[in-house]
Assembly symmetry: C2
Homo-oligomer: 337 residues x 2
């Protein structure tokens, strides 16, 4: 299994990238890595070159670059070269901590879509209070969703949950503004009907966004615009409340600080349950190979967890299964006329 790594993407690159990559390399003997980036910066960070190859480049895509233009023009950028490696079949998966928009563009224009899939979906794994987590897609690859695209997200999320979570009948739900079948705008009403009719899918109906963290579904299907709003509201609120808890401890004098000290482990547990990075990166599903994005601010542990996730996707051939499914249904799921 060969993973093409954009070693220069993210806030703390290349340090955290190389630390996470080397940990994964040490643990999993089947993994080989090609690191795209500035050799002068990378070499001092590497203790042992076993199963690592450096492809030197000094060009990189920045967070404020316009994604599509950047991918088209910066042909030697570390992210672009990593995507090219997959296209040229010298690597099996792409991994980056860089700009989500640019990675989506690189995925679309270089790696390419699976025939039958109109738009890839961006799918993070989110935490739940029971510790199992769930996947949600699309959270922003595609701002204008169509019913059939949402059905494709459901199919892909279902494959992923079976392979990566080992679930036999993942519970698939549609994010909507109420639980009744007739809820939502026309997009969500039509999607509900299509999902209800889709054979082999354990569609459990609508879910409202206040239930997301409660572990009631394994795969949550949503259009990219709503999914983005729900994801960011969830992340922003969790961060805000935990910050307020910390301030409450720091600002409440000796009594509060002592209380905080006694509670430290408990609160740390919560913070780590809601630390999205331990669940791996966000997958761009619908492309011809695993293209996976970790948070720009990810640390070495998060990089390691994300590589473990890529390894599982490759070991299970999840993308191959998705591709076979859409080939068998001729690019249309069975509910299509």
């Amino acid at each position: 299994m060969k993973i093409a790594v954009d070693a220069m993407g993210g806030d703390n690159a290349p340090q955290v990238v190389l630390a996470g990559v080397q940990r994964a390399r040490d643990e999993f003997s089947e993994l080989e890595f090609t690191l795209y980036g500035d050799e002068a910066q990378l070499t001092p960070l590497i203790k042992d070159m076993t199963r690592l190859t450096i492809v030197h480049t000094t060009e990189k895509i920045n967070g404020d670059d316009e994604p599509v233009k950047a991918v088209r023009r910066k042909k030697q950028a570390s992210m672009v070269l990593a995507a090219q490696a997959v296209k040229n079949q010298t690597a099996d998966a792409v991994f980056s901590l860089g700009s989500t928009g640019a990675l989506l563009a690189a995925g679309l224009f270089i790696v390419g879509r699976i025939p039958g899939i109109d738009r890839p979906g961006l799918m993070p794994t989110l935490p739940t209070t029971d510790g199992h987590g769930f996947v949600m897609l699309d959270v922003g690859a595609n701002a204008e969703g169509k019913p059939q695209q949402l059905v494709n997200y459901a199919v892909m999320g279902d494959f992923y949950a079976r392979d990566l979570r080992g679930l036999r009948q993942p519970r698939v739900a549609l994010l909507n503004n109420g639980t009744e079948p007739n809820k939502g705008d026309s997009l969500h009403q039509e999607t509900y009907q299509l999902l209800s009719q889709l054979e082999g899918l354990n569609f459990i109906g609508n879910i409202e966004s206040d239930k997301l963290l409660q572990g009631v579904a394994d795969v949550v299907v949503t259009d990219g615009f709503t999914g983005n709003a729900a994801l960011k509201a969830t992340e922003g609120t969790a961060k805000t409340i935990l910050k307020l808890v910390k301030s409450a401890i720091m600002d409440s004098g000796f009594k509060g600080k002592l209380g905080g000290l006694l509670l430290k482990d408990g609160i740390k547990n919560i913070a780590s349950t809601f630390d999205v990075s331990s669940y791996g990166g966000a997958v761009l599903l619908g492309l011809k190979a695993p293209v996976i994005k970790a948070h720009g601010g990810a640390d070495a542990d998060a990089v390691y967890y994300t590589i473990r996730q890529i390894r599982e996707m490759l070991a299970n051939d999840t993308v191959g299964k998705v591709q076979a499914y859409f080939a068998a249904t001729k690019g249309h799921t069975s509910v299509d006329k």
Copy 2:
């Protein structure tokens, strides 16, 4: 100022309704209330009938009634009679803790829309870490938003923030999936353009939902579907994290419990900052009179705060100003061709 009260709506009706109403009545001598509900249940809860009138009815709308049907068929329901009172000009505002959908239907079919406003918007006040809060609309009255409807929400939210919050130039933002002007689907791109051109509006651009609680805007404009998802994700996450903090205290043995005891006030403060009820109810803006909904689970304090909010809307003639604005612009805001 006469307020028509649906005394039977909500989980703890009529007790909390009457307790809150009487507290507001005692404090504000200009308020008069007509209470619609079961006289046999209401009378024992009233200490003093000053400025209270009971209109007896035993019919009520339940949470599982289909809203439009219920409002059309249950002509003697407490909520329907309260809305009728405003239509007949025997009351100036409607207040209910009952079904949001039914109240929206009663508002549309009985109270009526302001000419020029296609769809009313549901607007709650949400907390921010700086304690000022902000309003957001629409959070679910209208699942299929159009650009001009979102512009109307901006205008109405702006009037409300000026009157009720005393802000001279409320910061109005559009909820979107990124901050750049060209972000979002076509609905949000078009709305951005219209808002940028709207004279007299302090439009500060796009806001992402992870920034909602940080107090960066006074009025957040959104379509009802996305607004609903962002609102519920925010509420659900806040509730979940605070519950986890409590469990961390309870489950961590003597040390943790002691810590919790020492931190009790600090954590209570956070819970009360995020207790939406102290910010009043959700207003259905765009109707000919204030129609206001408190949470079904609201307590007597929340009822009191919501009545105080209604009183301010009436004292400022907020609905009258909105009506005059849309009359002057002939039902179209100035950006229309």
